[in-house]
Subunit: 155 residues, 2 copies
Amino acid sequence: MPDIENVSLLRLREFLPYRLSVLSNTISTRIASLYDREFGLSIWQWRVMAVTGDRPGISATEIGQLTAMDKVAVSRAIAAMIQMGYLERKTSETDGRRSQLFLTPAGRDVYELIVPMALGAEQELASSLTEDEQKQLERLMGKLADAASPDRPLW
Amino acid sequence: MPDIENVSLLRLREFLPYRLSVLSNTISTRIASLYDREFGLSIWQWRVMAVTGDRPGISATEIGQLTAMDKVAVSRAIAAMIQMGYLERKTSETDGRRSQLFLTPAGRDVYELIVPMALGAEQELASSLTEDEQKQLERLMGKLADAASPDRPLW
DNA sequence: AACTATTAGTTTCATATGTAACTATTTGAC
DNA sequence: GTCAAATAGTTACATATGAAACTAATAGTT
């Protein structure tokens, strides 16, 4: 009589966290290569651009909150983009610790090219799903995000 | 008359690739901290353990294919796990370049603890969805994965 | 006003990761 | 059999990333 081989079966390919990770990496990598090739921007830099374009005068801390980046990553992305001439920093008049960030004209030019590009890529991707499926996906991702939220009773 | 502010609107929080990335990172980080805390294993090492436990004698290249890791990452994970005493390497008798990998008894002990733990975490996560929603999610992720597949006409 | 705690952001340092170069072995063509 | 090309895996190097320490400014307490 042969032993029972496995306690229970784990197939990595079917493991939800693995599948999510591979899917997300595939998509991120492909989109990132677009920004990088066209404008020399990393994903982090692109995120900073996206929120600064939408909210001129935003601070680094706020950027971190809106982009799920930690403050070190934000700081570095900002520094690089100032260097590239895409971003400008002023110190807040009411709070000397706070910086206020703005796209330069050159930065805004890139922003205005990049936004439709990003939306186009998303569209391309989403168009593999029906309207209804897209809504479903949103909903399911929302539920998972809640379930995985870090301020939950530990698994 | 005010200028038209944006070419078209991009809200990062609603941007599918961003949402996927944040969700996947949240889940991966939480699960990774379990393996790490309990057994000192990184995600990569854990992936290697998962497939080696399932297919004793597997080669590094095959591990790479099954885990979506590149060969350098695989090589490093294997080296670390041999160091830790969880993995054993033999050289294939029919092909001297090829290595064959096996869990040591200690490695198998960990494997047998880790598998139910991983499945439990997945279960916990998946249980936020109904059976039906889980199937839906599988399906939608499959479609997205096809759409994002790197051997597709460039976006 | 003086002192402590908090907040914004940067820098430092140690580690992780990816690309390219490398070694060893095998395969295939001649 | 010999040599070029391909394959398995490792190493080296350059860059990215994260945690913790640090600087500067503000807020809150007395």
